[in-house]
Amino acid sequence: MARREGGEINAGSMADIAFLLLIFFLVTTTMDVDTGISRKLPPMPEENIETPEIHKRNIYVVLINKNDRVLAGIGSPTNMIEIDGNGIISESLKEDVKKFVSNNGRSETSSENPDKAIVSLQNQEGTSYTMYIQVQNELTKAYNELRDEQAINDFGRKFDKLDDTEKKKIQEIYPMKISEAETKAN
């Protein structure tokens, strides 16, 4: 039986196969948003275990009420943080948090050291999720900027560019202690 000279596989259907696979993937997958802000929740308090007393000077309270107004202050939320016409929080919240965390005992009314400094975030039933995330964003920004400044000071590079052991050192200096309290009643 003579073989056909120069037998070639007809590659015309390769394109069809490729299109089929492509359509399959287009239909079954999603370009999911996989970025976000990470947090650690506090464990449920056990019965009969007293929570240790925390001095007022070591807590920075941020309260978002049901009308999305943000109040903040050391010990109790006394100052109103401005929100511009577009609903964006002013920088003063981030600056206040940075001053509070990096106080290191300088001012008697502010935190003793960054390890004891806790930012307590409270919200109410009707608070919008968008404003809550904005506030979380500003708090994270405050810690990230403090960590960056420390990293440049100690290692000459920004926090993201450090290796794991160096990152741990900076994280020990400025641990992110953001406490999310229960929703207060309306």
């Binding site: 997958t29 948003v33 970025t35 990470s38 464990p43 964003n137 929703t183």
Partner: protein, 157 residues
Amino acid sequence: MSKFKRGTGKGMPAISTASLPDIVFMLLFFFMVTTVMRETTLEIDINPPDATEVKKMDKKSLISYIYIGPPIESQQVNFGPAARIQLNDRTFSRKEVGEIQYFIISEREAKHEKDRPYMTTSIKADENVTMGIITDVKTELRKVNALKINYSTKKRD
């Protein structure tokens, strides 16, 4: 004497389509690399809020998702516009928030023993949700000791 070509002696050469599969394969690889196999069909509308200080989550396989938002158009007739919680492929109302405990426990069982401490729960909530339902969800997570959470947000500059 005609200076022009006489008629069209030859036809235009056919465009070679030999590289068409190559182009399609490139598109295919792009999609294979950038997308995630969708495991659940969303029954609720979610538009996540945006933030600047977001980080990419690693260890995709150890993430459990909780979707919170208003039901999609077609389901609104059944459930109304109030925010609902979706776990895998079932939705629940705010009153049934206790289901989250079973969800987390079953997700935990499905994972390897040594992976369990690294599991995180990603809360994907629509931006118009109010904090009441979110706080209820977080309380249930605390009850089952699923303490590592992540608020899913888009990145904005």
